[in-house]
Amino acid sequence: MSGKFEKFISDFGWPRIIIALFLLLLFASTPFVGVKLDTSISDTLVRVGMNGVLVLAMVPMVQSGCGLNFGLPLGIIAGLLGAVTSIQVATSFDALYQVISSGGSVGVFASALSSVLQSGARGLALFGIALAIALPCAAILGFLYAQILNRVKGEEMMIATYVGFSSVAVMCMAWLLLPFNSPVMVWGYGGSGLRTTISTEGFWRHILSDFGSIDFGNFYFPTGMFIFFAIMVCIVWAFFRTKTGTAMTAAGSNPEFARASGIDVNKMRTISVMLSTVLGAVGILVYEQSFGFIQLYMGPLYMAFPAVAAILLGGASVNKATMANVIVGTFLFQGILTMTPSVINSILKSDMSEVIRIIVSNGMILYALTRKTRVKR
């Protein structure tokens, strides 16, 4: 009995236990420091749902041996493209609809589309459009990204970071130049180019979160978003049980052996990168529908880091990650990020949240990077 307990502790790792206890302590202390417990739990859960899929996006690349996906911004960009296009479609359609309905001539297709886009399912349809655009973009970007990564085995993480940064910078230029004209997205007073932040209010804000949500008093539980997250987790979990999934894991844990068994390691890596990027695109859309805003330009620049920190906190290493890592990690990480600032701010009467965030997140990543792993090369 005590042997099992010890094994559980050594598996789980002392740092994780300490952090979990710390989080518990923070929650327990809320009534004493003047922070509302129900709001705190609610906030934490919302943030877990928001970030969950982005953390999930880390798993494929870790499993296939490509390391932590610091290039998540690539997937995020695909998602942003989808989001922005969906809003453009909505605005253009609205304008078109005015013209058509006032003209009185409505084709069958137009009437079907219009009934959807004018109904309560409008938000869902728009979200669907966003996904429909984001996913192919992500797949393409992921494929190209994989081509680079496959030629640089050994230094993937650093290169991923800078490829991610470069693409964010390229998109900054693109956001200025792309021919969007929706007034809710473009700078006012005759400016050109998209605004830095675009609200999803009236489009698909909370489209997932509000589905079946539990809402009383200060407590808000975004059921829909969690269901979506659960579905995504199940899909990924099921994928890793397929032949391709197991081959991917094999390629990651021992490339030489995998190659000897006939597995095309490069192909596995490519698929994993594409999968990661696609999940990143989905993840940012889930994030945006909850957050309520689309952040362009330099917004996505550092978005990989919280996801990396979360999965590492969940127990993943640089070359192995499980679903449990994702769920536990996201919960612990977002918990700490939500609770520490609010508690400490109440105690010390000053706003330390930003600084704490930086120290905790990066500290976690550092810890993981300095752990001993098998030497593969």
Binding site: Y302, F305, P306, A309, L337, E354, R357, I358, S361, N362
Partner: protein, 162 residues
């Protein structure tokens, strides 16, 4: 085998000496580089039993800078870097001029220089500075505009990381 402990000892001594030298240099740098706000007072003063009259029609030049007049019973503030400075007093009436090299030996936060004593050739030219309740007189123009630190508060939005 007797060489080894000696070598270790020698290295340690060298390192300690190096650190001591750096510390000493730090103090020297502080001393010669510190910009002190020195008050130059033109009131009648009594030092060591000798009375010195306030100077009338006097202008002062510090370290070859701009000439500033100081009225009797007034005082001016001058920023001086380091300890050794030349103060030149020119009295319009009678065309007298006195130049003296002054070494700031006291803590200039609690003492000030008495111009009459300086002109009178006293050895000790320092008189106590009145309590801080008095606002500092406007600084003498020394060529450098007094720009306060820019007012931006706090770190702003572009914090690194997460």
């Amino acid at each position: 085998m007797s060489a080894a402990p000696n070598l270790g000892m020698r290295r340690l001594l060298i390192r300690v000496a190096l650190v001591a030298a750096l510390v000493a240099i730090s103090f020297v740098m502080y001393d010669i580089g510190k910009e002190r706000n020195v008050l130059l007072d033109n009131k009648s003063a009594s030092i060591d039993g000798v009375e010195y009259e306030a100077l009338v029609g006097v202008s002062i030049i510090v370290d070859g800078g701009k000439k500033t007049g100081v009225r009797p019973d007034a005082r001016i503030a001058h920023k001086m870097v380091g300890r050794t400075h030349t103060i030149r007093l020119e009295i319009s009436e009678g065309g007298k001029s006195i130049e003296r090299t002054v070494r700031l030996t006291m803590n200039m936060k609690s003492w000030m220089i008495s111009l009459p004593a300086l002109a009178g050739g006293a050895r000790d030219i320092y008189i106590p500075r009145p309590a801080a309740a008095q606002p500092l007189p406007p600084p003498s123009p020394s060529g450098e505009p007094e720009t306060p630190a820019l007012g931006d508060d706090g770190p702003g939005e572009s914090l690194m990381g997460i």
